[in-house]
């Protein structure tokens, strides 16, 4: 039974993807024939397939990004939105867009987002380590403070400059897939592929870092280098996703925890499972966001929180031994 569990996740993602392609404000006639004929239905091929593909990729990216945050910090509370990574990516992309250097969703905006994510994450770690050892407490508190500051700056820039393509504070705070195009997919697919490959490579080192820095070092792990690479993977994954569709809080926290509770703590396996569960949550959330109040859309970040939080609470309450609470 345990061996079949991963296949249930895959089956759930496939079924949710098909459901997401079928439902929406407009009806897709002859769905199955349209699905295998790219020129047959514009709504399906020009709008829904790019959007659903984006939710799958971004969900996977944020799921793995959360896993990298938690693994690198050895901290159950770490996630891109708490470590300043998401806010840094938003600010990087907004700066690039407002100065007219790049456009939303372009490869340039993604580059600005990844650089912003890297700088913000590095700043949080540098400030948290100022008093010597990197404690979980200082990391989370400083991460929250830096996130709040950078989010405020994004808000100020969004309000002060009234360019139509700059996106709203709501977009950067809660995220949206409404404006995703086929062209946007290339950028987030590239960053997700690079970040995932890096995450896969360093996963065994993160297993050992979970035993503490000293023991990981005794076992032969270059702890500093592994942690640095995990944070680079986190920044590439979250930077690419956030600069294209805005911040989706909670997914980076919930997806790896849910994967860990179901499948155990081995990081290489969790890279795959966090990606699948991230995609699953996001595709369900996006389908609900665009159908509950159709033709209007709800901010997707609200739905991910409403979906993910109860599941996470239930899992922690029922089975709390995967991550020991100190």
């Amino acid at each position: 039974m345990k061996k079949l569990l991963p296949w249930f996740t895959i089956a759930a993602v496939v079924l949710s993807t098909l459901s997401a392609l079928m439902v929406g404000a407009a009806q897709v006639d002859n769905f199955w024939s349209a699905l295998f004929n790219p020129s047959s239905n514009e709504i399906l091929w020009q709008i829904r397939i790019p959007r659903v593909s984006a939710t799958l990729i971004v969900g996977a990216a944020l799921g793995i990004a959360g896993l990298m945050a938690q693994g690198a910090c050895n901290n159950a509370l770490a996630e891109p939105a708490i470590l300043g990574t998401s806010a840094g990516a938003s600010l990087g992309a907004v700066i690039g867009i407002l100065f007219g250097v790049v456009q939303v969703g372009s490869l340039g905006a993604i580059l600005f987002g990844v650089i912003g994510a890297l700088l913000a994450t590095a700043l949080v770690f540098r400030l948290a380590a100022l008093r010597g050892n990197l404690s979980s407490f200082s990391l989370i508190i400083i991460g929250i403070a830096v996130s709040a500051t950078l989010t405020a700056l994004v808000g100020l820039l969004s309000v002060m400059v009234t360019r139509a393509d700059a996106r709203s504070i709501s977009f950067w705070s809660f995220g949206s897939f409404a404006l995703v195009t086929k062209e946007n997919l290339i950028g987030i697919a590239i960053t997700t592929a690079i970040g995932s490959a890096l995450a896969w490579k360093i996963a065994p080192a993160l297993d050992r870092i979970s035993l503490g820095d000293a023991t990981a070092f005794h076992l032969g792990v270059d702890v500093k280098r592994s942690r640095y690479l995990a944070l680079v993977a986190l920044s590439i994954l979250a930077g690419g996703a956030v600069s294209t569709i805005g911040t989706i809080a909670f997914l980076g926290l919930a997806a790896p925890h849910i994967a860990r509770f179901i499948y155990g703590p081995t990081h290489r396996f969790l890279v795959l499972q966090s990606a699948l569960i991230g995609s699953l949550i996001l595709i369900i959330a996006d389908t609900l966001a665009r159908t509950i109040t159709s033709p209007n859309e709800l901010p997707i970040g609200l739905i991910t929180s409403l979906l993910g939080a109860p599941v996470l609470i239930a899992l922690v309450t029922v089975k709390n031994s995967v991550w020991k609470v100190q």
Partner: protein
């Protein structure tokens, strides 16, 4: 063989070990004893390559541990901590296999019946034996000549303690250099070939 020559180590600006020299022979068990705060664990951590000295040097089989990268150092010595933190629910077998094959060391340390239990659900003594087993697995896999154990007996009952001591004696007889930190009030150290006494 471990050589410690005029070693000085500071922590938060205070000298914990000052101008200390000794030789630890191979194929033997050396116990480091002394009261709390005397620098027993600090000396062991320095030998393991965890703490860089202010001055002086350490050589394990003629090699300075600070000149090696982490993965090279893992082939020179294996070490277990006094209080190994286990935060994630890996099984006992998985944790040991991070270092090497688990079956034999689990048998040696009476852990076989706990192989599939999560390390977050172990008693203090069991967790301590898992940490020792991991170091032993690393020693075997990487063919390390040196085994460093920080207070490996503190949470063990008499039977487990005797079993661990016999195991260490066997390893020493086979040529290993074993250094064990022991709380001096804990027991008689008759099983050690050499005793290093640290004082405040």
């Amino acid at each position: 063989m471990i050589k410690v020559n005029q070693l000085t180590i500071e922590r938060t600006g205070r000298a914990i070990i000052s101008d200390f020299s000794t030789e630890i022979p191979s194929a033997s068990i050396t116990a480091i004893i002394g009261p709390n705060g005397s620098g027993k664990s600090t000396l062991l951590a320095a030998i393991a390559g965890d703490l860089a000295p202010i001055s002086g040097e350490i050589k394990i089989d003629g090699v300075n541990p600070y000149s090696l990268a982490a993965n090279e150092l893992a082939h020179l010595r294996a070490m277990s901590l006094q209080n190994q933190p286990f935060l994630m629910g890996f099984t006992v077998r998985q944790v040991i296999e991070f270092a090497g094959p688990a079956d034999q060391v689990m048998t040696d340390l009476e852990l076989s019946h706990l192989a599939e239990r999560q390390v977050t659900n172990l008693s203090g003594g069991e967790a301590q034996r898992v940490a020792i087993a991991q170091a032993l697995a690393q020693m075997k896999t990487n063919q390390c000549s040196t085994l460093l154990l920080d207070e490996p007996l503190s949470a063990q009952d008499t039977e487990s303690r005797n079993r661990i001591i016999e195991l260490l004696k066997k390893l020493a007889k086979a040529g290993a250099t074993i250094v064990v930190v022991v709380h001096s009030s804990e027991e008689k150290i008759s099983w050690a070939d050499k005793v290093l006494k640290q004082s405040l």
